[in-house]
């Protein structure tokens, strides 16, 4: 059964409810999702055209076992080979794909695994993205941390031993503007060796400013590369503009960022097409910006507060594993991050095949690291973006990864 995303909250006013329902039921009242909004920088780039022309022509059902075997035999698989590896025809070859992926991962990354943790500093959001816990119509506890609170959270995390942090916010330019995020990043530089951000897409100038504040990695999830589907899921707010989001990573690189990451949120649309688009997006970016460090993630839909039934549909763990093996075989040098959306069992297995980075000590809530890390209660906390699956602490993850025979790496980075 398809996901039922629409949930009405009792606290919404009649007018708000009426607007929400109109957005949900009357496409004509929604803005053009392919048109840039005022203030959104438009860059000249051919990457979108390159990615989307491949994706539009992709029919996963035409590939055969022979195509898959040929792809696996190639030292440098082509885009066509990648399409075969992502197709249903490759499913019976999962073990073979995993073997090949493992060899590539070890060649490029050795027996190591990188650890990081996310830090959400605010969960206000101006968008109505129907599957997200932070969406503006969802009745959750909202919060924006002050600089003192952020520093406190960072201290708690740094004390656990973590050296890499990913700073996140909900997408509200009013409540969490670029300056606010920049100040948080400056603080992060004091406590961590490596600082990444996962915030709303911004213009080149803003990425430049954030880079000066100490950020070097930018993650933006496209959610889905199926523009028609995207339109039905992101009903209101600046995030509605699909092409502006698509070009975020390129603007980040133009702003001087060292690396970028991206992916679709698997389960929203045809996952094979979305996986193909995700990997080609990063592939063409690296071809255009050869110095850029690229990284892929693989988030699947998770339940959220007030809608516990959201699930990743037909993207099971076997499918996810197939996708990640295909990513690795096609882009042996790319980072692959697997978040705490996935289970302990899956993450322990996939780090031996394709993943190079995993999160630990994760909270997707606001200001709750102390209570989560130490058990010390606090009443000033903001609600989570989604439910996590693997809640292992940093310490636990460090020892689990060591036991798997992998060297956990906390920092492999210099801000120069």
């Amino acid at each position: 059964m398809e996901n039922q995303f629409f949930v009405d909250s009792e606290v919404l006013s009649e007018a708000a409810l009426a607007k929400k329902h109109k957005l949900e039921n009357d496409p004509s009242c929604r803005t053009d999702h392919m048109k840039y909004m005022e203030g959104q920088q438009q860059i000249s780039s051919d990457i979108m055209q390159k990615v989307m022309s491949q994706v539009e022509n992709y029919d996963p059902s035409v590939y055969t076992a022979n195509d898959v075997m040929r792809a696996l035999d190639k030292q440098n698989p082509s885009v066509e080979d990648l399409k075969a590896l992502l197709s249903p025809a490759a499913e019976p070859f999962l073990e073979k794909m995993a073997e090949r992926a493992r060899i590539e991962t070890r060649k490029h990354f050795g027996n190591t695994v990188y650890l990081f943790t996310p830090l959400y500093i605010a969960n206000y959001c101006e968008n109505y993205c129907v599957y997200c816990g932070f969406n503006c119509y969802n009745n959750i506890r909202r919060m924006k941390l002050t600089m003192e609170q952020i520093e406190h959270e960072m201290k708690v995390i740094a004390d656990s031993g973590m050296e890499e942090i990913l700073i996140l916010t909900g997408e509200s330019k009013t409540m969490s503007d670029v300056k606010y995020i920049g100040e948080a990043c400056k603080l992060a530089r004091k406590y961590f060796r490596m600082v990444g951000i996962e915030i709303y897409p911004v213009n080149v100038e803003d990425y430049k400013y954030l880079h000066e504040c100490g950020v070097d990695y930018v993650t933006v999830f496209q959610e889905t590369y199926d523009t028609d589907k995207y339109e039905t899921l992101h009903l209101m707010g600046h995030k509605r503009v699909w092409p502006y989001r698509f070009e975020a990573q390129e603007r980040a690189l133009m702003g001087g960022m060292r690396g970028v990451a991206g992916s679709a949120l698997l389960g929203l649309s045809d996952f094979r097409k979305d996986a193909l688009a995700s990997v080609l997006h990063m592939y063409y970016l690296q071809r255009k910006y050869p110095h850029a460090e690229i990284s892929l993630s693989c988030p699947r839909l998770r339940p959220i507060i007030n809608n516990g039934k959201i699930n990743p549909q037909d993207v099971g763990e076997r499918q996810l594993c197939q996708i990640l093996c295909a990513y690795r075989i096609f882009l042996p040098f790319a980072g692959i991050t697997v978040s705490s959306r996935e289970s302990k069992t899956f993450r322990d297995g996939i780090v031996k095949i394709a993943a190079t980075k995993i999160s630990a000590g994760v909270s997707t809530g606001i200001g709750d690291h102390e209570s989560k890390y130490t058990g010390k209660e606090s009443d000033a906390e903001g609600d989570e973006q989604f439910e996590i699956n693997d809640s292992r602490s940093f310490k636990q993850m460090y020892s689990d990864m060591s036991e798997e025979g992998l060297q956990p790496v906390l920092n492999d980075y210099l801000y120069v």
Binding site: K107, G110, R193, P290, H291, F333, L410, L414
Partner: protein
């Protein structure tokens, strides 16, 4: 063989096998050094620039020369900054320059490497530049004050062996500094071949890091490097000399 030393900027080493320290468990470094018989070990400054928790530098045995590298640098300026930081971190004066503007193949940028070599050599570093085997660049590196030249055999981590064999041979033949073959050496036989060619030393990391039994592979590399060196010193048999040699001499008619 006993008096056969690798000399880098006046420092003498008996071992001609340089070991990498990335890509494997920190707890295995000591055993790797021991079985490889290594006297020089490389370490990325970016890995060393860490908090107390399992700092890689703490795992490197005493008495081994640390060769910090500038991996992560994309320009000469960044490499220079990283080299200076290495010195501040107490890593000594040796520095291996790695400058990459390509994240796919990790191929070194020769022009920037020459620039960084010049700056760092002037600052008293023992500069060991990683480079793509090009004779003109190698000569520029010599003039810039490099202590060795470190051409790549094939892309880092590829384990493909001496893909650039003929060009490395040219460097060995033409450059007076020690030529240390770095990157892409995937098995002991390839290390042995590089040494037979006259390379002064070989460096390897991934081949050991991803071996089933790391200490055993370290030992295999040690033996291979020693065998290759001995073969080179003894003078290889004529069958291996490049070019054909007809049994009836062409000049036999001369009286």
């Amino acid at each position: 063989m006993e008096n056969d030393k690798l000399v880098i900027a006046g420092h003498e080493f008996s071992s001609r096998f340089i070991l990498g320290s990335g890509k494997y468990s920190l707890s295995l470094i000591e055993a790797a050094v021991k079985y490889a018989g290594a006297e020089i070990i490389t370490c990325a400054v970016r890995r060393a620039n860490t908090k107390e928790h399992e700092n890689i530098l703490d795992f490197i045995p005493k008495g081994v020369t640390l060769l910090p590298n500038t991996s992560g640098a994309r320009t000469a300026d960044e490499a220079v900054r990283i080299a200076r930081l290495a010195r501040e971190l107490g890593c000594g004066d040796f520095i291996k320059i790695e400058i990459m503007r390509d994240t796919k193949y990790l191929l070194p940028d020769n022009a920037e490497t020459v620039r960084a070599t010049e700056i760092l050599a002037k600052e008293g570093f023992v500069v060991m530049p990683y480079m793509y085997p090009d004779l003109n660049t190698a000569r520029d590196l010599v003039n810039a004050g490099a202590a060795t030249v470190m051409p790549l055999a094939s892309p880092i981590g590829s384990n493909k062996g001496l893909a650039t064999r003929d060009f490395i041979q040219i460097l060995i033949d033409e450059i007076e500094l020690p030529i240390i073959v770095d990157a892409g050496i995937g098995r002991p036989s390839q290390a042995c071949e590089a040494m037979e060619m006259g390379a002064a030393a070989v460096m390897s990391n991934t081949a050991l890091a991803t071996a089933g039994d790391l200490p055993m592979m370290a030992e295999a590399f040690r033996k291979a490097v020693e065998a290759g060196r001995a073969a080179y010193l003894s003078g290889l048999g004529r069958v291996l000399v490049r070019g054909a040699s007809p049994s009836d001499t062409l000049t036999g008619f001369l009286r």
